[in-house]
Structures are given as structure tokens and as C-alpha cells.
Symmetry: C2
Subunit: 222 residues, 2 copies
């Protein structure tokens, strides 16, 4: 479960190299990157784009989303002009970063949809997200807060996440592990809130908080 979010894969021009999809992932929404229609992007350009995205993730995580674009450029080792060439707006940069993070989560969720132990898969994923968010602090704060609206452009990614998490949740409920009266909305809220709070907690406290939330989510005997 120590699966990191792969920071690689910045170039969306290709379809998933390999997907661990044990069962029934329909090609319904198959081409996720299809809409990136136009240009092949020159080699150095692609490289720089990736550098910027990487730097942006770090900078925003560290300094908050209020960090200046210039700081991102500096950290990426490129000029501001380059940053703006790839992301015409600071907002679009934020959106891209957020999108990448969400995509990572979505992938992790999907990888678990076929797990033998639905309850374990659900809680495991929940914990993973909270853990990740604790590190990426500021970004996830934004993720949990207003930032998620900013990322409205990545509606596709959000849908993907919601879908996968929905499956995880349903299966866990069908297995009788998670109480039946919570929906995706509640789980997402809990996930966001817990992630948000986890950021400034030590591991032990975080574990106890998670324990409380998990207990609340479990099917009650009564």
C-alpha cells in the first residue's frame, strides 16, 4: 500500500501504457487523453512542460497555492515565459497539478476495484489518500477547499475518481463492511475533511483520527 503517486507521465499524448484492470473496465470512456487533439509537442517542449508541472506540484504543496508563478519557473529552471506558454494562466497550472493528483488517486482506486477483500480495499484507499494529502499539504487543502472548483476543467478526471470510489464503496457495502446509509457524497466529504485535518497531525494522532472515522463508517451491529 506504499504505492506512490507516479510523478512521471506528464505527457498525456498517449493512452495508458498498461492498466491493471482485472475485470470489466469498459472502453466506454476509453480515450481519456483523446481530447488533447492538436500538436505533437516538440521534444524539449515536452520535457519542459513536465519540469514545470513537477516544480508546480512541489511549490504549491510547500508554499500554498498563493505561491508565485515566478517561483515555479525558478524551481523548474525555466523562464516565466515558458511556464505561461504551457499554461496560459496560473489557474490552468493549478488545474493541471490538481488534475494530475486526482488522476493518480483515480488510478489507485481503480487498481483496487477488483480486490478480493472489498472492505479492505475501501479503507485502504481511504487511508492512502489521507496519507498522501498529509504530505502534499497545501495542495490538498486546496483540493478539499475552493481549489476543487478551480479544477472544474478536469471534470473528466473527477468523474473517473468518483466512479472508481463509488465502486469501492458499493462493493464494501455489499460485503457488509461499510454501513449502507452513506453515499459517495458523504464519503468524499469525509475523505476531504480528514485529509485536510491530517496535514498537521503527527502520525499517531492521524492514525487515531482515521480509526474514529473508520469506526463510524463501519456497519453498526445495532
Amino acid at each position: 500500500m506504499a504505492a506512490d503517486i507516479p510523478p512521471a507521465e506528464t505527457q498525456p499524448a498517449e493512452t495508458q501504457p498498461a492498466e491493471t484492470q482485472p475485470a470489466g473496465t469498459q472502453p466506454t470512456k476509453a480515450p481519456p487523453a483523446a481530447s488533447r487533439s492538436a500538436k505533437p509537442l516538440r521534444a524539449d517542449a515536452a520535457r519542459n512542460r513536465a519540469k514545470v508541472l513537477d516544480a508546480a506540484r512541489d511549490v504549491f504543496a510547500e508554499l500554498g497555492t498563493g505561491a508565485s508563478t515566478e517561483e515555479v519557473a525558478r524551481r523548474a529552471g525555466v523562464g516565466i515565459g515558458t511556464v505561461f506558454r504551457h499554461f496560459p494562466t496560473k489557474e490552468s497550472l493549478l488545474e493541471a497539478v490538481l488534475g494530475e493528483i486526482l488522476a493518480g488517486f483515480a488510478e489507485q482506486a481503480k487498481a483496487r476495484t477488483g480486490a478480493a477483500d472489498p472492505g479492505g480495499a475501501f479503507f485502504d484507499f481511504f487511508q492512502l489518500v489521507v496519507g498522501e494529502s498529509a504530505t502534499k499539504n497545501a495542495v490538498s487543502a486546496e483540493l478539499a477547499g475552493a481549489g476543487i472548483d478551480i479544477a472544474a476543467g478536469r471534470a473528466d478526471v473527477r468523474q473517473e475518481l468518483r466512479g472508481a470510489l463509488g465502486v469501492l464503496l458499493t462493493r464494501a457495502q455489499e460485503a457488509g463492511v461499510v454501513r449502507a446509509d452513506v453515499g459517495l457524497g458523504e464519503v468524499l466529504a469525509l475523505l476531504a475533511g480528514t485529509s485536510q485535518a491530517a496535514g498537521k497531525l503527527d502520525v499517531a494522532t492521524r492514525a487515531r483520527v482515521l480509526d474514529v472515522v473508520f469506526d463510524g463508517l463501519r456497519s453498526q451491529p445495532s
Copy 2:
């Protein structure tokens, strides 16, 4: 002190959009809180200070803490100079607003410390804070997030809140209603996280989220 808890708010919500108030408007809480020891403060000055604080609360709640000081001045119906006379720094303004909110919570918590039903008092307070925060949205986001550090100056108020909540928690635990293995830190994190998440939830979902958290906090039979 074991009196009834008035459903009253932290502050009477007499929000009026008008900026130039007609004669006969009672400013909320003319003499600012308490222990403002030093200066006698002229009558109109006190009035303006209150207007600014009020406006600031609204503005920051509505537009986020990024809202400009000028907007606060406008909303309060005073000049920017006046705002800065009372709060020499934007940060100090934020601090004052946050301090007021926290003080309100602390008061509510204290009012419940002697309640006959410790469990009820604890959960009731928790719910109250979450509900308030949902309205005051942006401010509480800040409260839950980095903003709480900004308000470091109001350490006294924070301590007060912690103290009162601590009593509430302990009593609820002694009554066997709340599980014994959570501490103030966990509760505060849960409170902050839930408040944060509650902001953009409809009432029904919010209620269900609270239900989950409360169940998690309750003493487990196992």
C-alpha cells in the same frame, strides 16, 4: 452556570448590506469583548471599530481571506485609513475576527461544561461548531487551515477553547459516552476537518457525515 443553552449564535446576525447606516442601528457589541485594557477609546471610534470587525467577518466569510482591506472598509462604511487605525495590519484584522469567532465558541463550550447530560453537551457543541462553520465558510476554512497559525496572537482565546472543550470531552468520556482512546487533539482535528468539509454540503449530507463521525466517537461495545 448550569443554565440552559440559548440557541443563540456567536454573534447576532444583523447583517445589513447598506453601507451608510441610518440612525438607530445598534452596532454589534459596542464595547469590544473585554480585557482591552489600555485606551478608553472615543465613542465614535468604538462604534467604527465594531463596524469594521463586523464587516470584516462578513467579507472574509464571503470572499475568503484574500479579500482586500478596501472591501472591508467599503462594507463597513468607513475609510481605509480608519480600518488601519484600528487594525494596523491586515493580519491583525484577521486575527481579531478569528479571535472573536473562537471566543464565541469558547463561550458556548463553557456554557455546556456543567450540563446534566455530558454526552449530549459534547455532541451538541460539536454540531454547533460544524454548523456555524458551514456558514462562515471561508473563515473557518482558514480557521481549520493555516489561518489558525495567523491567529497565534490570540493564544489565550485558543487556550480557553481547548480548556472548555477538554472538560466537555473528559466528562463525556467519564460518562461512558465517548470512547476513551481519543484525546483533545483528535477531537480538534475531527472538528476542524468536519467543519471544513461541511461548508459545501447540503444539510442532509452534512447530517449524515456528522452521524458517521459521532458514531466513530462513541464508545464501542467491542
